[in-house]
């Protein structure tokens, strides 16, 4: 699966229906290849800050080309959003650009860094933030200093995220297959069928249509909120008092059970700390092995703030983790 070609297509085209995205993704998928579901790929591109999706209108749009600096970034900045040819060409030829040649020694577009399940990471060497701002202004693209930290601090809390989706109707809407979030044990579906079809019990619900799903959180009977999957999952975890996030002091990374993938914008904040999608690894811990997503370059303060916003207390991973890397489900 060539995610770089997918991102180039997204960047040159600019916008489209979700059907067009799915068709492009399917066409790029080699026959018989075991690749991610198309919505997972879509969510990954969102987390990387490349596209935005309006699920109600079933449309996607590429995000503005953005140069984002990073805390703990070693003097590099990320290229996020659209990566059309003109943008990469101009960044790669500053030395011959009459407007920007004076920056050619201090701003260098590095070689692409390949990553699994997503387009290459593109890093740009910077000396000073002011130079990044100057080059962005000259090219007409966005400059986002310390985007991950800025975003995290500006995000509404989980409660406010949910409140925005309060439904006027006091009941859950009809769906083809209503399911409710269970205990979320590893190896079992997070959302399971409701044997008694009772949709009045507080909890997180998923109503499947055909290709897409809608998520709801029932706070108490008659008090219903619609939000993204991550929001309702973490609301339910908070209601149950379950704390699932772990911070690994060994390498400064955040571990998130893959079945409890973070709410979209919180995940984006974590991903923008490196521009890399989280690696997946199986970790042996009680009650059994579980698949975790590892978000890197996350310091403790960042992880704690993120956890607080989601009603989570951080735990350390087990002292002796047995990790089986890249065993993505």
């Amino acid at each position: 699966m060539n995610y770089d070609t997918l991102l180039q297509w997204v960047s040159e085209r600019g916008s489209g229906s979700l059907t067009s995205f799915r068709q492009a993704y399917d066409w790029l998928t080699p026959a018989g290849a075991d690749t991610d579901h198309w919505t997972w790929a879509l969510q990954s591109l969102q987390a990387l800050g490349h596209i935005e999706v309006d699920w109600d209108r079933r449309r996607w749009e590429v995000a503005p080309s953005t140069v984002a600096t990073i805390v703990g970034g070693g003097g590099y900045a990320l290229l996020c959003g659209a990566r059309p040819r003109w943008f990469l060409r101009r960044l790669g030829s500053l030395a011959t650009d009459p407007d920007l040649e004076h920056l050619a020694d201090s701003i260098v577009l590095e070689r692409p860094v390949p990553q699994d399940h997503g387009p290459c990471l593109r890093l740009m060497t910077l000396d000073e933030g002011a130079e990044a701002a100057e080059v962005c202004a000259a090219l007409g693209v966005a400059y986002s200093p310390f985007a991950a930290d800025q975003l995290l601090r500006l995000l509404p809390s989980l409660t406010d995220m949910l409140r925005a989706g309060r439904r006027e109707e006091t009941s859950l809407p009809g769906g083809v297959f209503p399911t409710r979030m269970g205990l979320g044990e590893p190896g079992r579906p997070v959302f399971a069928e409701i044997p008694d079809q009772d949709c009045t019990v507080p909890g997180a619900y998923c109503m499947a249509l055909f290709d897409t799903r809608r998520y709801f959180y029932l706070h108490r009977p008659g008090d219903v909120f619609e939000a993204g999957r991550g929001e309702v999952v973490y609301a339910e975890l908070r209601r149950r008092g379950r704390h699932v996030l772990r911070w690994d002091s060994g390498d400064g990374s955040l571990l998130v059970p893959s079945r409890f993938r973070l709410p979209q914008l919180y995940e984006r904040a974590a991903v923008l700390r490196t521009g890399l999608l989280p690696g997946a690894e199986t970790i042996a811990m009680p009650p059994g092995p579980a698949l975790f997503l590892r978000y890197r370059n996350i310091d403790r303060a960042f992880a704690e703030y993120l956890g607080r916003q989601l009603g989570q207390q951080l735990a350390e991973p087990p002292a002796e983790m047995e990790a089986d890397n890249d065993s993505r489900a």
């Binding site: 066409w27 996607w60 503005p64 080309s65 003097g75 059309p84 975003l151 890197r296």
Partner: protein, 699 residues
């Protein structure tokens, strides 16, 4: 009023050549039924419209030069600039009417009927008819093309392939209005696109197989399809119809009709009607009876409409609706000259195929089956047994579906096709691609309408199942399809530019581009939050639902990694200012004079583990400050290029004395010379000078 010859000519013009036909084929498709409709619309005081037209035309016919009067009128009209409508449509209409003989047309039959209509004796060609009729049709074509610039419809009269002079009239009557209404369904079944150029003889062959067993085409068209001498004329007509098709369904008068689709709500078991809103009708409301109100949304949207699904509706019975407003012009609403009435019609089909569609959360009509997708099949009961056999041929056995409230006379099955096969007749739609022409599929389209693709994303050519033996050429070079009838153009190494693909009678032009975006793009969809006061300070709250959408300005706008925040919002998120230092050389953390430890400044761990070797030139200082035995004030870097210092911000470092071993008087003495020559960053020079002096004094 009692119409005279001029009134009839003008009435014919306004019926057959109208502004709403601009750019589309216009036919003088006269038959007795149409003449009656025209007379009614014009409020002509006549008992028999055909007789009325004959009477006014015969008045001008003379045995010596039957069409001479109209030829003279036409010459004067042209000399005057052709500004009014053609003054000879009345006589052309009668020559066309004569061609509407269902039992086959030969010269003798045609002239017998035409002479009778004109009031002439015999069954041979009238005098000078050869040159006169050619002149009048040519004038009509020139008027449509040159004077009107196609704004009242494009010219279609021709005698190519027809029977000499009779061909002109036949070219106007090959397709009855009732046949033309069904052509969009035929084109849709072929998978053809509006404006596509397809060879007419291929379309004729496909129309023969598509209409096999159907009872919905006119006897006239059925006869034309069997007559080889008319095939060329029909081929030209079909080619032109497809080339000028705008993708809409129209009624017999050529007005846009609203095509109803079947939708099925699984939980309630109810069949409903849906529409895909045509651009011309976006944003309008229509009323049909006291209970049926249809409000149409934006162009291209799929929506449910309040029209009960009955057996009559599924048999193609049209419903008239009256315009009830409002006349909206806004985003997605491009209504300007909307009609006062429109027809709602669910085209009559013997089989409906419904696929899951998330837009409506229902099963919705599709033109033909899709490979490997689940379908709900509604088939007329008399064809149910045949459908079960076809379904078994194309996939697993048909599974009857009973939890559906469908009108009597229909049966329902579940069906997931796994194979391709050519199926003729009314059940052809059950076969995926079974009726479709060779088509471009997949790829990475920048614009599907104009067929622009990324160079790395040239589409696949999928061959027509019925005509797989045809030669495939790409830019004139032969290309070989794979075993499933597909040519992956992306594997041919085509460069950026225009490319021509030919297969059978279907021709495509594809443009490949390395780049398409020309400059920066503003944020479209974004997340928007507003700042509000809260007990703990300020909080951000989502504007609307917490999803990306188009928003007006708010305190915080997030699109990808681009963040725009108001000053009020920025108080929540002051920019972090992590202390950073160049890597390379040796680093020392300085506290008060006399306090020093060597710092292990390393590039971030995550960067060192990347699959591509990078050479980070900066490192955050914070990790090097953990566990210091004193409060750090300066970071000294000793390098060949010179010694520099930078001030360290007061932070929450924990001074636990654990690293005391690294701090010693010996190290201080060793570092002092570097301190003496170290230069501070701009803005910190005075402070450093003060500290430096104190350190040197303390020696």
């Amino acid at each position: 009023m009692v119409p005279d010859e001029r009134a009839w000519s003008e009435a014919l013009r306004s019926w057959f050549f109208r502004p709403d036909l601009a750019g589309r084929s216009a036919y003088l498709a006269v038959d007795e039924e149409t003449l009656t409709a025209i007379a009614r619309e014009q409020c002509f005081d006549v008992l028999d419209a055909t007789q009325s037209l004959c009477r006014v035309v015969r008045y001008r016919v003379s045995p010596r030069s039957p069409l001479g009067w109209w030829v003279s009128e036409a010459i004067r009209w042209r000399a005057a600039g052709s500004e009014s409508g053609p003054p000879f449509l009345s006589v052309l209409a009668l020559t066309v009417l004569a061609a509407t003989i269902d039992d086959g047309a030969n010269d003798r039959r045609y002239y017998r009927r035409m002479n009778k209509l004109l009031g002439l004796p015999g069954d041979t060609m009238p005098r000078d008819f050869y040159s006169d009729i050619q002149q009048l049709w040519t004038y009509l074509n020139e008027w449509l093309t040159e004077t009107c610039q196609g704004q009242l419809g494009t010219a279609t009269a021709t005698n190519v392939g027809g029977q000499a002079n009779v061909g002109w009239a036949q070219s106007q009557t090959l397709l009855r209005p009732s046949d033309r209404v069904r052509l969009p369904l035929f084109f849709t079944a072929l998978g053809a696109h509006p404006g596509q150029l397809v060879k007419g003889d291929l379309l004729v062959r496909r129309l023969r197989s598509w209409s096999a067993g159907e009872r919905t085409f006119s006897q006239r068209l059925a006869a034309v399809l069997k007559d080889p001498s008319l095939s060329e004329l029909l081929a030209a007509a079909l080619h032109s119809e497809l080339a000028h098709w705008d993708g809409t369904l129209r009624d017999e008068a050529g007005r846009v009709a609203l095509k109803l689709l079947l939708a099925f709500h699984e939980r309630s078991g109810q069949l409903q009607a849906a529409v895909q809103v045509p651009e011309q009708l976006a944003g309008t409301e229509w009323q049909s009876g006291p209970d049926t109100r249809v409000s149409l949304g934006a162009a291209g949207e799929l929506q449910l409409v309040n029209v009960p699904v009955t057996a009559d509706l599924m048999d193609g019975l049209p419903r008239r609706t009256e315009f009830s407003g409002p006349d909206i012009s806004g985003p997605g609403h491009r209504v300007r000259n909307h009609p006062s009435t429109i027809t709602l019609v669910m085209p009559r089909r013997d089989v409906h195929l419904l696929c899951p569609d998330d837009r409506l959360a229902r099963w919705v009509d599709v033109p033909s089956a899709l490979l490997q997708r689940p379908h709900l099949v509604l088939v007329r009961s008399e064809l149910a047994a045949a459908a079960v056999a076809v379904i078994a041929e194309l996939g697993d056995a048909a599974r009857p579906f009973r939890r559906i409230r469908c009108p009597s006379g229909w049966a329902a099955f579940r069906f997931a096709p796994t194979r391709l096969a050519v199926i003729d007749g009314p059940l052809a739609a059950l076969s995926p691609r079974g009726t479709e022409l060779s088509a471009l599929e997949g790829g990475l389209p920048i614009s599907q309408r104009t067929r622009i693709y990324l160079t790395d994303g040239a589409p696949d050519l999928v061959l027509d199942l019925r005509e797989q033996s045809g030669l495939v050429t790409v830019d004139g070079a032969e290309a070989s399809p794979d075993t499933v009838g597909r040519v992956r153009l992306a594997d041919l190494g085509l460069s950026a530019g225009r490319h021509s693909v030919n297969v059978g009678g279907v021709r495509y032009q594809v443009t490949l581009v390395d780049e398409f975006a020309r400059g920066p793009r503003d944020a479209g969809f974004s997340f928007a939050f507003n700042v509000r006061e809260s007990p703990g300070g300020t909080a951000t709250i989502p504007v609307g639902v917490s999803a990306a959408a188009r928003h007006g300005p708010s305190d915080v706008m997030v699109s990808g990694a681009a963040i725009a925040a108001s000053p009020a919002a920025m108080t929540r998120a002051p920019l972090p200012r992590p202390a950073r230092v160049r890597v390379g050389g040796r680093h020392f953390v300085l506290g008060r004079p006399g306090q020093v430890v060597m710092a292990n400044v390393q590039p971030p761990q995550w960067l060192r583990s990347l699959p591509v070797r990078l050479a980070p030139h900066l490192a955050d200082v914070a990790p090097a400050l953990r566990g210091l035995p004193f409060a750090p004030e300066w970071l000294l870097r000793v390098a060949q290029s010179g010694n520099t210092v930078s001030a360290l911000p007061a932070g929450p470092q924990i001074h636990d004395g654990l690293s005391a071993a690294n701090s010693s008087a010996a190290l201080w003495l060793q570092v002092l010379p570097y301190i003496a020559g170290a230069v501070a960053e701009t803005g910190e020079a005075a402070l450093w000078s003060q500290w430096q002096q104190a350190a040197l004094d303390a020696r």
